[in-house]
């Protein structure tokens, strides 16, 4: 799964720490999400999307199972 978290963070001039605080998660969680190495729950995906003023479809690019 690819994400556009970095792109949206840059748009709103947010650091990983800022975003983590906004969402209410640990910084490592944002790091792994940004790298596309962690599949979040629907709740977390929604919280991140809301914090970045977008929606899940815009933020997360699902590639399907390999």
């Amino acid at each position: 799964m690819k994400t556009r978290i970095k792109e949206f963070r840059a748009r709103y001039d947010l650091t990983q720490e800022d975003l983590a605080k906004k969402v209410g998660v640990r910084r490592e969680t944002i790091v792994f999400l940004e790298k596309g190495k962690y599949n979040p729950s629907l709740q977390l995906a929604h919280d991140v999307a809301t914090a970045l003023k977008t929606n899940i479809e815009e933020l997360f690019i699902f590639e399907g199972k390999k």
Partner: protein, 146 residues
């Protein structure tokens, strides 16, 4: 709807518990080292002290990181860290069963002898703790937790 955070009270309890655990662990290793030093086991005594110091340093680093995180306003647990703990716990349980079987088998085959039942229990529990720590470190670094 927000992702669950731990309240401040829980954070303090966790930090205090880990702090007490660090002091107890270190004291245990120091007492054990002094006891076996008196019996003439100098190498084992030094080894016990080294393990105690390593554990103390690791726990102090853990406490310092958690304290900094709490001060900065980050939660001590979140969705991913809970998943890491669950996976590490379940994997560590399976490996621990093998660990207990292996030390029991090695001891009954004369590879090494435990002084008494408390030493055997201590080796089992210490091994389980180390296995959990390693499993946690593995899953915490692993990106995909599926």
């Amino acid at each position: 709807m927000k992702t669950k955070n731990n309240p401040k009270g829980n954070d303090k309890t966790i930090l205090l518990s880990v702090g007490i655990l660090a002091v107890l662990l270190f004291s245990t290793f120091v007492l054990f080292a002094v006891t076996i030093f008196k019996k003439g086991a100098i190498i084992e005594s030094a080894l016990s002290l080294i393990i105690g110091v390593i554990l103390l340093v690791a726990l102090i680093i853990f406490l310092k990181r958690r304290y900094t995180d709490i001060k900065k306003g980050f939660p001590t647990h979140d969705e991913r860290s809970n998943k890491v703990m669950t996976l590490a716990g379940s994997k560590a349980f399976l490996i621990s069963v093998w660990w207990i079987l292996i030390i029991g088998w090695a001891s009954s085959n004369g590879w090494f002898q435990f002084r008494d039942i408390s030493q055997a229990t201590g080796a089992g529990i210490l091994g389980m703790a180390v296995i959990f720590g390693l499993c946690w470190a593995y899953y915490n670094r692993k990106g995909n937790l599926e």
